[in-house]
């Protein structure tokens, strides 16, 4: 409880700070929805030409797309501190966090909050509702739970990747653009059901970086292509996140501080 209170006190400060620059904030709200909108246009035109992607219908693909974008936007909004972790290290702000008597992961989460992602989150939510209603799924309480689980576990997976790669910054100080292959790249890739890709790609993004378990596998259950147990696969995000946190703390021990 105390942890949450501390977190939301930080969020309040970040929100107030963002409101100091209203015009810039408003502009960012608009800019943030441009990427998902253009990606969405891509999906739409794809279907205009081909009608279907393997045996997935457009609303089903959209459901996958919306869940992934929702997860990514949530991760960006709350986990901005990890997304831009190299900056935290390079500017020496991490030293400041280390002299505060709190958990370092919590402090990093507190260090930034991207309020301007709300537009993206809103867009993804609208799309999700639309797709959910048109995907030909008969919704039950369990299926709704699975859908929520998908969005949340996706967020955790994105966060996990950032947290694990943040550990690399302890060693390199410089940020690694390579990470974006897995986050931005992972987001684009997992916006579509994984079975449209080659097997090795599919396996990598299911087992190593488990984007697959957060949308592809449960989606198969939702549309009736797999048994109900597949709906629980998003839970795999939890051990994945734990492993990432472990890697992070391994990195902290090798921290050498800038300047």
């Amino acid at each position: 409880m105390q942890v949450l209170r501390l977190y939301f006190r930080h969020v309040a400060i970040h929100v107030r700070a963002a409101m100091e620059y209203r015009a810039s904030f408003a502009l960012m709200l608009v800019i943030q929805v441009l990427t998902p909108l253009s990606a969405l246009a891509g999906v739409y035109f794809l279907f205009q030409n081909f009608g279907a992607l393997q045996d997935w219908t457009l609303p089903q693909i959209l459901l996958c797309f919306a869940v992934t974008y929702l997860s990514f936007a949530l991760a960006e909004c709350f986990g901005r501190g990890f997304d831009t972790f190299s900056r935290l290290i390079r500017q020496g702000s991490f030293d400041r966090l280390m002299v505060q008597p709190r958990n370092l992961i919590l402090l990093t989460f507190c260090s930034d909050f991207a309020l301007n992602r709300v537009s993206k989150i809103g867009l993804a939510l609208c799309l999700l509702v639309y797709a959910a209603l048109h995907a030909g799924i008969r919704w039950t309480a369990y299926k709704l739970l699975v859908l929520v689980l998908m969005a949340l576990s996706g967020t955790l997976v994105f966060l996990g990747v950032w947290i694990a790669f943040a550990a690399l910054c302890f060693v390199t100080i410089e940020g690694l653009e390579v990470v974006n292959i897995f986050t931005d790249g992972g987001r684009e890739l997992s916006s579509y059901p994984l079975d449209i890709y080659l097997k090795p790609v599919c396996r990598f993004f299911t087992l190593v970086i488990p984007f697959g378990v957060m949308n592809y596998l449960p989606l198969r259950f939702l549309v009736g292509k797999a048994p109900a147990i597949y709906g629980l696969s998003p839970l795999y995000a939890l051990p994945f996140l734990a492993a990432c946190v472990g890697v992070f703390y391994l990195g902290v021990r090798h921290y050498r501080s800038a300047g």
Binding site: H10, A17, Y21, G92, D95, V99, P101, R253, S257
Partner: protein, 320 residues
Amino acid sequence: MLITLENIGKDYVVHRKLPGHVLKRERTLVRALGEVSFSIDRGEIVGYIGPNGAGKSTTIKIMSGILTPDRGLCRVDGRIPHKVRKEHVRHIGVVFGQRSSLWWDVPVIDSFNLLRDIYGVDKERYGRTLRRLSEMLDLGPLLRTPARQLSLGQRMRCEVAAALLHEPDILFLDEPTIGLDAVSKLAVRDFILEINRERGVTVLLTTHDMHDIEALAKRVMLLGKGALLYDGSLEAIRERYAGEKQLSLRYARGRLPDRLEGAQIVQADIGHATLRFDPSKTSAQRLFAQLSQLVELRDVSIQEAPLETVMATLYKEMGL
């Protein structure tokens, strides 16, 4: 002893790209700290000096629990800082002169309140500390101002206060007066003396401003190339390395020659001049005798060599 360091060492691995190669890198081990040992008693104010890159910040970061030493043992009040970081940092305050612990865009008081929550300081106690700090550092009107609108001096006063809101026993100051104007420097110095006297806060500060040291610290530790080169009083350094003194004079009649015996002319103009001499080689009396034959002395003053010059001599002799 409150703080003890025994043979503390820290190395950094530095990768250097080899010219002409895209991937090949050279791995070199840079020794930030060789074997540093010292101890500091409760209630001391210690000045930590040395040229840039000597390892001062590294030592402070080890004592704050930010860095893990590669060798040796560091104990602060019985704690090994990096092992019990969270517990340890409750008892220390750290000011990094070149970094801010204030949120840039919100009023200072909001940053303070957030720090209260982070440290979990009891409300009543916090209120008392804050009142006392803002009185001593004259923060009143600053508290409602966003940090970005503060001058450097005002900001530093707030930074120092921010580091003390949880009433730590130990204060580490890494270049707290860097870039400050004279008034702010004095305010920060006075404050450090006051909390040391009143609450017995132990202070370790790094600085390049020798006047900080002169005003605050009875004890000076000199670090160079990762080793402790001197640990003692500033006076002893001054006596040993001051060597030359400066003589300023104003005169009425006569002219000073281009060269004087036993003294160096630093600057000369009609009617006044500045000389430098070494009292151990030329006595002041002999110099005066010589001068009074040449000109009619109106006014003279003798000053110690500026501290900066003393330190420069010291650094040079230590091969830094």
